[in-house]
Symmetry: C2
DNA sequence: ATGCTAATCGAAAATCTTTTTCAATTACAC
DNA sequence: GTGTAATTGAAAAAGATTTTCGATTAGCAT
């Protein structure tokens, strides 16, 4: 509950009989303490401050592992999906700022009625979903007003 | 309404003062008539049957264009997002089979209550969302039963 | 029809991102 | 401590996507 996310992940590794190595510790710390979603390359760069020898390959492998165990989730944007974030709950979604990229997680998605209805209509056994919301965060809204016109990314 | 999707896309290009070239026609035809989502590489391969000279670069460029105009949408999977599908409506979601990859679109997502609530709580101005459901389609469920144990991908 | 011009194209090269291979290292149970 | 399977990093391979650039072409205006 109030247990740090990184501790939870460490326990998870132990439960699955996986080793808690120094490279993994560095990666876990970064992901658990990150304010928002990060790409593998970003995680690599940050975790290297703690463990300079860390290879990018290990980041990918660790992300696969943590994703499989449910401690980390891929964050989906409208235009690409190269970021990951710790999933505080077993089930989490993200609200991503389209301007600064800051993300906020939320758990209550209440899709049951929709899922039930679709299962009935289509015969699919639905067992997973991706839901990501995008919009401008309060800070960026304020900044946009202060600066007048605001540009688009890309 | 009952107008073919490809015709709609063609009109869209004209409205935006873009040229309707032979390479684009080939790409539009493939996307519009596809039963499910396709990767750029798949679109390239298929469209080449109509226009053998077609380059993959043009597929990427055309997808960007059609996405910008809203005629095509990226389809989000749990593990990656490299596929595109025609968006029949301005707003569409997908139900993707986790086994064979077959997808089915649906429009009614009824997220308004959730969005309204989150806007109130967080102050974000939400203007876009990604929703994709995954599960086993009826065909694959049947096949799994027939064959006994079914393996996982990857 | 013909010409003009900006939009578009394909090929090649450059950039990323992600995966595979493999020999060396390391966590951890005994 | 010792043994062993899991894990690691480097290098290379594989894939996906973007950039560059000279050649081509659609569509409008003669």
């Amino acid at each position: 509950m109030t247990m740090p996310v990184s501790t939870e992940m460490r326990d998870g590794l132990r439960e699955h009989r996986r080793k808690l190595t120094r490279p993994r510790q560095a990666i876990l710390d970064i992901i658990a303490s990150a304010a928002h979603h990060l790409t593998p390359a970003e995680i690599h760069k940050l975790a290297r401050k703690k463990y300079p020898h860390l290879g990018l390959v290990t980041v990918y492998r660790t992300l696969d592992l943590l994703t499989e165990f449910g401690y980390v989730q891929r964050v989906h944007f409208a235009d690409g999906c190269h970021s990951y974030a710790a999933s505080a709950q077993e089930h989490a979604h993200h609200l991503v700022c389209s301007s600064c990229g800051k993300a906020q997680a939320f758990a209550d998605c209440d899709l049951e009625p929709l899922i039930a209805s679709l299962q009935r209509k289509t015969g699919y056994e639905i067992n997973l979903h991706v839901l990501e919301l995008m919009g401008k965060c309060p800070d960026c809204s304020t900044r946009a007003v202060a600066l007048g016109k605001n540009g688009k990314r890309k």
